[in-house]
């Protein structure tokens, strides 16, 4: 029962069928962050994987670069309604980082420099669905877009793709992260328009 908006025609009639509901296409790359942009030097950057028992494993910047790299072209969808098609990234698949991890955890919490967190089911990080990305459009990833490295989980709303990522903590229970405790949906599937609590 949509309200009729007399005189509203809509401009982007050739809406693509690969645009999730409620989204519009942008050619810019807008930024959404809850605070100032952290500036993290690569020589002190570290990514730490912590399992549900507290066992830790860390990678330095050079160790990340020494892992197999992938070039990824994906569409991304922000909860603030913009979608951007065919963005190109370079990074390391989380399949590589999680390859020899034995775990019974079903969930993960991504942590970032600056304190940001976001929660995801572990299955959503595996099987070629997620990366630690450090390159964008052939360049190093800019700080305002999450550089030196961010999570890239393109099949979920982009707040799940934590910027300035510094770790992943595996958990047996789903623990809401920053935006998830501030009104956003626990899972965030753009195709089911899971923007906010209760969606």
């Amino acid at each position: 029962m949509a309200t009729f908006s007399p005189g509203f025609g809509g401009r982007r009639r050739a809406a693509r069928d690969d645009l999730p509901p409620g989204q519009y296409e942008t050619h810019d790359f807008p930024v959404l962050s809850y605070g100032p942009t952290p500036h993290v030097p690569r020589d002190t950057w570290q990514f730490t994987l912590t399992d549900e028992n507290g066992a830790r494993r860390s990678w330095s910047w050079q160790e990340l670069l020494d892992l197999p790299q992938e070039d990824i072209t994906v569409d991304i969808h922000c909860v603030t309604k913009w979608s951007k098609f065919a963005t190109s990234w370079r990074g390391v698949s989380l399949d590589v980082l999680l390859d020899d991890v034995e775990t019974s955890a079903d969930f993960a919490v991504a942590h970032s420099y600056g304190g940001y967190t976001t929660n995801l089911p572990l299955d959503d990080l595996l099987d070629g669905k997620a990366w630690i990305a450090h390159g964008y459009d052939g360049q190093d990833l800019e700080p305002e877009h999450g550089g030196p490295a961010r999570l890239l989980v393109p099949h979920l709303y982009f707040w799940k793709s934590a910027k300035w990522v510094d770790g992943l903590r595996l958990t047996t229970t789903d623990e809401p992260g920053f935006w998830e405790t501030n009104g956003y949906h626990a899972y965030g599937d753009p195709w089911r328009e899971q923007r906010y609590w209760g969606d």
Binding site: A2, T3, S5, Y24, T26, Y34, P36, C78
Partner: protein, 245 residues
């Protein structure tokens, strides 16, 4: 948790803030209330069923006793799909749909610690004005300082209200930073917001203010970086960046 429902909102009044920005006074029956800084999603539907959604910051404070009125101040974007309709077409008595309020971080209430520094770039002043208005409604005592960067005098939103706030002496100070052209007799030449202006018209870091910075991405990046350089704890700087389109 209950899903946020789409609600019909009726335009009951409108006023121009500038040549390109219009405040919409909407009546939303059963509005659940909101905190200053929150936003709503607006949905328009064309006769053939085509829909478009955008997010807009709420400009008004919600009175403690409740109420069904809500104000949005919308800037017309030249290449926009939704904003030109809201500024130029939507008439009194017309309805749009909205849902919300949304957002639990970029909000102020009387429990937020310390004095408050509001840093606005252009239309980023809208959610910050909601905070100024809420402070007055709540008769809150926390001192506020607003540093508002704008291109020219023609771009000033909420002119009369800000002048009243300035004269009122009730713990809210407002300082304007003109970036392109200043009014005649303005004491400083136009220029971008810099550390000196933030140091002079904001709060010192050791006053431990909570800082709210809102505006276009480039402005927010610059202002938030300046605050960090001036010694403000990043954890006390909350930001809201307006996307590019």
């Amino acid at each position: 948790m209950r899903r946020l429902t789409w609600r019909a909102a009726t335009l009951v009044a409108a006023r121009w803030e500038t040549a390109a920005a219009r405040t919409l006074v909407l009546d939303v029956p059963d509005w659940p209330g909101h905190l200053p800084g929150q936003h709503v999603d607006v949905r328009l539907t064309a006769p053939d069923g085509y829909q478009a959604q955008r997010s807009y910051s709420i400009a008004s404070a919600w009175p403690a006793g409740g109420g069904s009125r809500l104000e949005l101040t919308v800037q017309r974007l030249g290449d926009g799909e939704v904003s030109p309709y809201l500024t130029d077409v939507l008439g009194t008595g017309d309805q749009i749909e909205l849902r919300g309020p949304v957002g639990g971080w970029f909000v102020w209430d009387r429990h937020v610690p310390g004095p408050v520094l509001l840093v606005a770039g252009g239309s980023g002043v809208v959610p910050l004005m909601a905070m100024v208005r809420a402070r007055a409604l709540l008769a809150a005592q926390q001192p506020f300082r607003l540093v508002y960067s704008l291109r020219s005098p023609e771009d000033l939103y909420f002119r009369r209200e800000l002048e009243q706030v300035q004269r009122g002496g009730r713990g809210v100070e407002a300082h304007l930073v003109y970036t392109r052209s200043a009014p005649p007799g303005w004491p400083v030449p136009p220029g971008r917001l810099d550390a000196a202006a933030l140091a002079e018209h904001g709060w010192p870091a050791d006053a431990e203010p909570t800082c709210f910075v809102c505006g276009p991405t480039g402005f927010v990046e610059t202002a938030a970086n300046l605050l960090v350089e001036l010694g403000h704890d990043p954890q006390r700087i909350r930001t809201e960046r307006f996307g590019g389109s």
